[in-house]
Subunit: 399 residues, 2 copies
DNA sequence: TTATATAGTTCGCGTCTTGAACTTAATCGC
DNA sequence: GCGATTAAGTTCAAGACGCGAACTATATAA
């Protein structure tokens, strides 16, 4: 199965048009399934005949299957089409402490899921991941596995195909792709967790037609994924989005990155814990962020105050994102979002108060915070087969 | 239930392929002229026959003309093709104090240029611009004018087609397009000055194959233009790039934008003047930035110190750009760049010292700082006819 | 049974790129 | 000079694709 073809300047032929239309149809089926060919033609603007030919191929490639037959007040009944949920993706979300491995179908639904502790070195991790992936493939013999997607708490350099910056993970410049590809025989895609969250929102969330969106992942640190002009923005070495290490207060304390006063020192889970301990003027103990959330659940005043302070810092720092990127939406991913009813308005308020002109962006929690990373990596793999979720409108003039 | 717009998915046909190839050929001619059709075929990967057909049309549309005949050690001599320099664009660069109006040919060369003082209100400005444009068209009867490009020291909202944020210009929410289009009969394109500088570099500079570039314009304030994935990133309301109003020191002085400690308070021309006066512990007099540069020319110690300080602040603030966007290049536009030999290294040093991982971006002055805005607006108009300067490699699967 | 409405297919046509064959035009060796 | 060689540029049939009209299939309502 061919995938990409990089030539000097990208020229087009009839096949290019076919590929584009194939992507349009496939993505429409994905978003609006079940849908009839007649509706696909109406929605896409393609001819019914063209849609029939394209879907015939998609069915042949087993991306699409026939669904139920519809009912109409008059006329022949439409045959609905939908994605073939036997097409599946293996995914893994690597986090500093734990790795989650899962099997997902083409619709981003999870069919199996398991966890493992994150080993200290990438080699051990790759061995563990390989065996789990192989086991999952064996235990789901009816599925058609199309690839593997990995999300990492760091930046993945598309040029060198390596993880290059992961301060909260101790692995450095490691190659996660080739060992897994060799072990499983499947293509492996790796992406930063925040970027994965962006894809989750764009592919499986309600932001289908949003062209400029930013995802902010809040955990130990802060990661940001940038989606602009309908595409992920990666930057040199895949380093775009390190807003977590943009200075929030230049006179602030030192950060793991080697600099001072980074945003994530004020607005991450660790920051909230620090605020909590400061307010009790007690030394740091082994309290985990999860415990702080539990205290907040129990309406502990100091825990709530710490979360409030963290949220305000989060909102304040987002002003930098708004001024630099002006996204339409900011999606927040993080355990703290469990208290969105209380904390969301604080963030929104800080963001809105800092807008220079125009409407403030819509700030909202992720559709399914716990699944965002994993689901995004499903999209990461599917993107290669489906084409972009949104096709950038081209403003060329026709002579 | 709201009605969905069904025309939003962009489908392709043979004509789409043709348009893409037309753009590839036209841009190749632009960058490599004079060039033979045989070379175009070699470089593009298209067939010689296809190139011939495409160029025939381009010649018919008078975008391209025959050039001199080449020489080869053997074989038939190639006929070189080049852009028709009778194709022309009218451009204007609106700045807080002065507006520059010019005629440029398709290669970005200027054939006429004149200045006017910026009127206090947009209406008067539009009247003045219209009459100058019409006069320039009349005085160049042999040229084929294809459009008008305007650069403004503010943000242009593509949705409403209005200037929405221009704190250094007092005009608010003004429509520059329709009055000029009515008066001249030509299509008008408006864009922010920093974005125009980006286009100047990408189209006419040496950054042809750069996919992630940022332009920083330094004058009264600081403006930033973002180019990522081979496209300008505009954001909601065209507001992307307002790094000038990202907080540099949250405890700093108030800014015209209503907030405190913005970067441009520390790294703009105004900041340098302030540093100069502070060092002399003298009150602000009518000294213009141009005068400060003249003092620096004369090696005035305090003037140089002020510029040094401004440059270091510039470099420090660029760390935010590097961390958030990770561009391959940062292009600096501003009068101060006249002293690049001294100030450039200071900026580069501050930027390089703040890199989290990977190579630091190349920081360099604009190719032709004085012409960048104007030349960029030429590209702004041409882009509509030529298609994007760089075609984004598409990673869709080919069946 | 007939009229009407809708889904989906078939097929000829136009557009575009391809690639081989062909024409044009130059140099070089003899 | 003259043919061999080399390269530029053109011509043309073939192939791929989307279009759109005509056609088939299948439903409801009168």
């Amino acid at each position: 199965m061919k995938r990409v073809d990089f030539t000097n300047t990208q020229v087009a032929s009839s096949e290019t048009a076919r590929d584009i239309n194939r992507g349009v149809v496939l993505n429409l089926i994905r978003r609006r399934q079940p849908i009839s060919r007649a509706d696909l033609a109406r929605v896409s603007g393609l001819q019914r005949s063209t849609v029939s030919l394209i879907t015939e191929k998609l069915i042949e490639e087993s991306w699409v299957v026939y669904g139920p037959v519809g009912r109409l007040p008059r006329g022949r009944r439409p045959t609905f089409l939908r994605l073939n949920n036997r097409k599946a993706i293996l995914v893994a979300d690597i986090r500093p402490r734990q790795i989650t491995v899962a099997v997902a179908d083409v619709n981003g639904r999870f069919l199996a899921q398991e966890g493992m502790l994150t080993p200290p070195d990438p080699q051990t991790a790759m061995v563990g991941l390989s065996s789990r992936f192989k086991r999952l493939m064996q235990s789901h013999p009816s599925l058609l596995f199309e690839g593997i997607g990995i999300s990492v708490p760091g930046r993945f350099d598309p040029a060198t195909q390596r993880v290059v910056f992961a301060p909260n993970l101790k692995w450095s410049r490691c190659d996660l792709k080739s060992p897994l590809e060799r072990a499983t025989g499947l293509r492996v895609e790796v992406e930063n967790a925040a970027n994965a969250c962006v894809l989750a929102e764009i592919w499986f969330g309600n932001s289908e037609n949003v062209r400029d969106l930013v995802a902010v992942t809040v955990s130990e640190g802060i990661g940001v994924g940038i989606f602009t002009n309908g595409q992920l923005s990666l930057g040199q070495h895949g380093m775009a989005g390190e807003f977590g290490h943009v200075p929030f207060d230049p006179n602030g304390p030192p950060c793991t990155c080697g600099f001072h006063g980074c945003w994530e020192l004020y607005a991450s889970n660790r920051a909230a814990l620090r605020y909590y301990h400061e307010s009790r003027s007690a030394p740091e103990n082994g309290l985990a962020f999860e415990d702080l959330l539990a205290l907040a659940d129990a309406r502990d005043a100091q825990a709530l105050k710490a979360l409030d302070k963290m949220s305000r810092a989060l909102g304040r720092g987002m002003r930098t994102i708004v001024r630099s990127l002006a996204p339409e939406e900011i999606v927040v991913v993080g355990e703290f979002a469990r208290h969105w009813n209380r904390l969301g308005p604080l963030i929104t308020e800080e963001v809105a108060a800092g807008v220079l002109a125009g409407n403030p962006p819509k700030v909202r929690p992720a559709a399914e915070p716990g699944m965002a990373r994993l689901r995004g990596t499903v999209a990461l793999v599917l993107k290669k087969y489906f084409g972009p979720a949104e096709r950038v409108a081209d403003e060329r003039k026709s002579a």
